[in-house]
Amino acid sequence: MTAFSSLLRAGLKSNFGLALLVHRLFKEKKDLWLGVLIVLAVIGALPALYYLILFLQNAYFLLKPLGQESALLTLGILAGQLFILLFGLYYVISAFYFSRDLEMLIPLPLKPFQVMTSKFVIILANEYLTVMIIVLPVFITFGVLSGGGLSYWAAAALIYAFLPVIPLAIVSLLVVAMMRIVNIGRKKDVLILAGSLVLIAAGLAAQTAMSRYSGSAGPDAQAMTAFLASPDSLLNRIGAGFPPSIWATKALASGFSRTGLAHLSLFAGTSLLLLVLMVIISEKLFYGGLIGLGEIAAKRRALSQVQMSRKISSGRRPVRAIFVREWRIMNRTPIFLLNGVLVVLLVPLIFILMAKTGGGGNNAFLRAVMTSAKPFHMILATAAFMTICGSLNGTSSSAFSREGGQFWISKVIPVSARDQVKAKFMHSYAIALLGILSASFAAAFFFHARPAVLAPAAALALAVAFILTAAGMIIDIARPLLDWTNPQKAIKQNMNVLLAFLADIGIMTALGLTLNFLFKAGLDGSTILAVLFAVLAALAGAVYRILIVFAEKRYGEIEI
């Protein structure tokens, strides 16, 4: 076995923790309930998947008579690739530069490109799983509805295999170059954060510029007819922000015809080319950006009595102390900050950009609802938007896992589990609040939502976020991931974050079904809102109570 394949095998095993999981499940017969939990979470998310497929099916039959159905594929591929482009950044920075196994790997007789490529392949494997939720429903729905033969499914497998390579290679190249530049001086963390934000901003700006460049169909009926009459015009317009998605669509829609093969070659060739480029660049730049990154040089100076007195508090205030600790650690750990606070600020920004540039498909529907004349629908849509922006981050579902090896401190300090959970809840909820606030700002200024819509929507979102925050914490305390060596594992590769995400979808779908039931019962808008608030308040109280009781039990049981 070559050094590279050994490295890769060890990395994959450690990344997925399969050996440990098999040992715990089948040898120690522990965590068997985890399987049950996963099944429950998947069942919870099934209704959402059903509605997604229904939506895709409707969109297919809408686009088919216009000859534009391939645009659906572009949408799925583009969504998957943009997701990797935007969020892969944290992933790459963390895996390439902040995993602690690097301290062990650097002294080994391995070439920099071998270390980096092995890490790249591990991220790639993770991305296959992540984009599965976005891309597979589209591929499968399209394949079934279009009656795609063997060539379609073979092309789909190939496209799926290459799908994350281009965005991930682009991100890796940018990150390696950035880290080589910022790995200087004392303020490395700040530089890394600033560099990441610049990269994200540059990516979004480039996408916006390309979408603008591709032109708009415009409101003119004649232009619209011409636009729709031209084959593949819609997919070209959607994919203009990221042309590889167009190549992949054409390769997939045309199967193994001459056009299909040409586009497949273009897509696969570009992927391979970028991969080779990444290997060459990594050999030159990777270690330069890496060496000494974990070390922090600090200027030593003693504090005066006055300075010391100012920084020291008095008396016993455990909840406040733990809240401040959570806040500081979250905001000072770049990976936690990027996945927590910055995500809740970025998601509304992405929605705004998509809406403004028309880069996506769903946002047109979103905008249509939000500017529709029915205030009740606007309230619900705005509340859903705010909830998504505030809650779809890993803060609550990694609240305990983030402590990692320092959890011993929480076990030995004289603070009850109730108080510790209260402080952690306040912290996670504060992040959700920040997301709801930024979403309110987006809804007010970019989607022109009025205060009469914003106020009840925000109240609804706050109530739902309360439930989702508590649910995320319950999932994390059930089986906190405490033995991580790389902070990314605590938040990005933490199974609890995925389970909580599925649970969130399940809860939101259940709320949607409740609303549907209330609609069908013939109730008017304000009565429905009142009933919804009552249901949410009762649920919030119940879920928070479950969290406290469960955490009190788990704090005693968790052994480290």
């Binding site: 030593r300 600790r325 300090i413």
Partner: protein, 241 residues
């Protein structure tokens, strides 16, 4: 006072017995040294005393309070230093100490006086405003020790506290341990350094394969051997296969 009554703990569904029917008492005003080969059950015992692990059977009490039934009260009386200083690296030394002061409820004046005194002693005054991430292993160990001293606890439990300390800091720590017990308080610590145990401890317990095989003062332990010998020789004789 720390009292362990028939405490057992096993791992892997009972296949590995880490601590087996352990019973011992650490009296007030006493420095108790806990010795044993690697994997003998020292850290497991310590973790059970401070509440990181739950005993399978038996009971542990601190100052007469059961660590399971009165967990919170026991935690107020006890501080702990682990064998590896895993602390919040993203906080500054002072923020960490203030956090400990906040959760134990140390009044401001005492907090300032004690922090000032221990930082000076451990030569950390110039580093306390920096993130712990920038500390060396020994400095991290010192900040954990300072945090453990800050609440002036009745009981201190230290797992190999001298590892990583420079000779000056090790000297000061030994002095502090003596002073702590001279005030009628209790100190339980594990070590591999026989000379330290011999010179510092009022009583010593030796654990091997989870069982307490000897417990007493140095003189009492010496009487167990075939002839008058050093603690190191007694240890080797008792724990040898």
């Amino acid at each position: 006072m720390i009292e362990l009554t028939r405490v057992s703990k096993s791992y892997n569904k009972g296949r590995i017995r880490a601590v087996d029917d352990l019973a011992m008492t650490v009296r007030p005003g006493e420095i108790f040294g806990f010795l044993g080969p690697n994997g003998a059950g020292k850290t497991t015992t310590i973790k059970m005393i401070v509440g990181l692990l739950k005993p399978d059977s038996g009971s542990i009490s601190i100052e007469g309070l059961d660590t399971q039934k009165d967990a919170l009260k026991c935690k107020f009386l006890t501080t702990y230093v682990p064998d590896y200083p895993a602390v919040y690296e993203r906080l500054t030394g002072l923020e960490y100490l203030n956090f400990i002061g906040d959760v134990y409820g140390v009044p401001k004046k005492e907090r300032l006086d004690r922090i000032d005194k221990w930082l000076e002693l451990f030569e950390l005054s110039r580093a306390v405003a920096n993130p712990i991430q920038s500390y060396s292993h020994g400095m991290k160990q010192k900040i954990v020790l300072t945090a453990a001293l800050l609440p002036a606890p009745r009981v201190m439990v230290l797992d190999e506290p001298l590892v990583g300390l420079d000779p000056r800091a090790a000297f000061h720590l030994k002095e502090l341990m003596r002073q702590h017990c001279d005030q009628g308080k209790t100190l339980f610590f594990s070590t591999h350094v026989m000379e330290v145990a011999e010179k510092l401890c009022d009583r010593i317990g030796i654990i091997n394969k989870g069982r307490l095989i000897a417990c007493g003062t140095i003189d009492e332990l010496k009487r167990l051997g075939r002839e008058v010998q050093s603690l190191e020789n007694i240890f080797l004789e008792l724990t040898g296969s």
